[in-house]
């Protein structure tokens, strides 16, 4: 076969061409005697039919059937995560239900700076990429919403946070992030994200630590002053210390 297509001398060409023509005649006849072609949708057959061809359709190349579009769903959690319940958040919210006021106020979807209480003075979350109505619902202030406009209760705020912070949310579902209440086995009650992270200013703020432990009698704390004059330094004969040998 290789010799047939290589640039060869003219001496062997005629028999090669004859052989090639014979192949071209015999092969389709062999193809006709082959087992029937697999079921191929009509559209594909029309495409595949054209000039006489050796092509047999590949079984894997079945065209993609677009499934019916689903209703947008809220994330339902990891099946293998240990079951848990979340500490309710709504009773910690001072102004809940927000519709107490907002039922009477006219909804205004224009992004702007809201300075009146109880709105937080600044939204330090997302570096300016979003504003209040990214999470809060315009016409239902008693719920948050996902990016697919599914309502989410304030008790389940982790579903909103997990849309972007999905890696951290996975850790939280499995217990690698966040805080569990009271016991290490049995009923698993965990805190939702917003218990620790204020969603309008999520970074944890510095605070003062508890006092340090006492230094044992006879010892010195290893402060920079200690390292400048460590024990035994004056008894070493290195040039740096300049001490007596």
């Amino acid at each position: 076969m290789y010799r047939m297509f290589s640039a060869g001398e003219g001496v062997g060409r005629r028999p090669q061409r004859a052989g090639f023509v014979a192949l071209m005649v015999v092969f389709p006849m062999a193809l006709a005697a082959a087992p029937p072609a697999p079921q191929v949708p009509a559209a594909t057959t029309a495409v595949l039919q054209g000039p006489p061809t050796l092509l047999r359709p590949l079984r894997e190349n079945v065209p993609f059937e677009m499934p019916e579009p689903l209703e947008p769903q809220v994330f339902s959690g990891y099946a293998s995560a240990p079951p848990f319940s979340v500490v309710p958040r709504i009773d910690q919210l001072m102004f809940y239900p927000c519709s107490n006021c907002h039922a009477a106020l006219k909804p205004n979807p224009v992004p702007r700076k809201l300075v009146a209480a109880p709105h937080p003075a600044a939204l330090r979350h997302g570096k300016g990429r979003f504003w209040c109505l990214t999470c809060h619902t315009l016409n239902d202030r008693d719920h948050l919403h996902t990016l697919t406009d599914q309502p989410v209760s304030f008790d389940d705020a982790y579903l909103v946070c997990g849309q972007c912070h999905f890696n951290r949310q996975k850790d939280w579902y499995f217990g690698g992030h966040g805080k569990r209440l009271a016991n290490w086995r049995g009923e698993r009650v965990i805190y939702s994200c917003t218990f620790c992270h204020d969603p309008h200013d999520p970074t944890l703020k510095p605070r003062a630590p508890s006092p340090p432990p006492p230094v044992r009698a006879g010892l010195r704390a290893m402060t920079p002053a200690f390292h400048a004059d460590p024990p035994g330094a004056r008894f070493r004969s290195t040039p740096a210390s300049g001490g007596q040998p």
Binding site: K179, R180, R185, C196, L204, P209, S210, P212
Partner: protein
């Protein structure tokens, strides 16, 4: 009466001395108590013999004759019968009442079968608050004068994991500090504990749930275990622990947080009085950042197992082969 293991002592009840013959020990104890009762009861003939034996006096270090002899002849925890353990618990409760003026409840909490405790600490989350240290001291009745602390939070520079360059006595105005991370160190509850191997009297051992415990009544205070521990987890009571009465935790257990005497070594025991009842250890409950993960290593669905399988974990001094059950991880 020496409680050290003597050469011929086999503990099988056949030797002549009270150390190797528990029956003889109990007999001597009862004889001494009876003789003491008789001696003490003679001058106070009107008082019942029981009250005379139980009344505290300066001759027994503030304790009563019965309790002094009872604790002197008390056997090793792993050899005591249920009645002897109950008597020991009652002695501890009376002692605490005399020392601190507080009614405590001392229990013998047994390990939960099928549980092996493991602990993981997220150094990305630890901010160095030392809330765990304070909670541990409150929960475990450590002396406020000696200021024994089971947990030591180390401030490490971000560029190193060298413990020799850590700062133990950090006290900035606020934490966290730029360029530093914090690593609390406590007893690692090793699977291959060097302290257990070093103890000459076997006062410390590893229980079936993995916690390395100390029988404080058996410890002779030689501090070999402190020399053996590579993590500086063990602490010695140089003084009688002094605790204000309102700060004494009355829920105690024998191998855990019951009030300890002077001259014994103590250490973190994963809050066995809490964890053996399903509660979190005090340090985990106090941590506000949720940096501490605790659970059963034998449960494949536990949080600790998820962390060990999915996070970047390390242990301290891995090369020593102590197999600690305390991991550190980062997010």
């Amino acid at each position: 009466m020496s409680r050290a293991v003597s050469e011929g002592a086999s503990g099988d009840g056949s030797g002549p001395d009270p150390v190797s013959n528990p029956a003889r020990r109990r007999f001597l104890g009862s004889v001494a108590a009876t003789a003491g009762c008789a001696a003490a009861g003679a001058p106070a003939a009107a008082a019942p013999a029981g009250a005379a034996a139980a009344s505290p006096g300066p001759a027994w270090g503030g304790s009563s004759l019965r309790d002094a002899f009872g604790s002197l002849f008390q056997d090793h925890y792993q050899r005591m019968s249920k009645d002897e353990i109950d008597a020991a618990l009652a002695r501890i409760e009376r002692n605490a009442k005399r020392t601190y003026g507080v009614d405590i409840h001392c229990e013998d909490t047994k390990p939960i079968p099928g549980v092996l405790f493991g602990y993981a600490l997220n150094i990305s989350k630890c901010q160095g608050y030392r809330d765990c240290v304070a909670a541990c001291v409150r929960e475990n009745n450590q002396g406020r004068d000696s200021q024994v602390q089971y947990i030591r939070v180390l401030e490490m520079d971000s560029s190193t994991r060298n413990l020799e360059e850590s700062e133990h006595y950090y006290n900035p105005a606020t934490v966290p500090v730029q360029g530093k991370y914090f690593m609390p160190v406590q007893c690692m509850q090793c699977e291959n504990p060097p302290c257990v191997k070093a103890c000459p009297v076997k006062a410390t051992w590893k229980e079936q749930d993995g916690i390395v415990v100390i029988d404080y009544n058996w410890c002779i205070g030689c501090r070999y275990c402190m020399a053996a521990c590579p993590y500086w987890a063990r602490h010695f009571n140089w003084t009688d622990p002094k605790i204000p009465a309102e700060q004494v935790n009355p829920v105690t257990n024998y191998l855990g947080n019951r009030p300890r005497p002077r001259g014994v070594v103590e250490k973190c025991h994963f809050c066995s009085q809490r964890t053996r009842k399903g509660r979190q250890p005090a340090c985990q409950e106090a941590c506000p950042t949720g940096a501490r993960i605790f659970g059963n290593l034998l449960d494949p669905n536990s949080e600790i197992r998820y962390v060990l399988a999915n996070k970047k974990i390390f242990r301290l001094k891995e090369e020593l082969g102590t197999e600690p059950k305390f991991w550190y991880f980062t997010d």
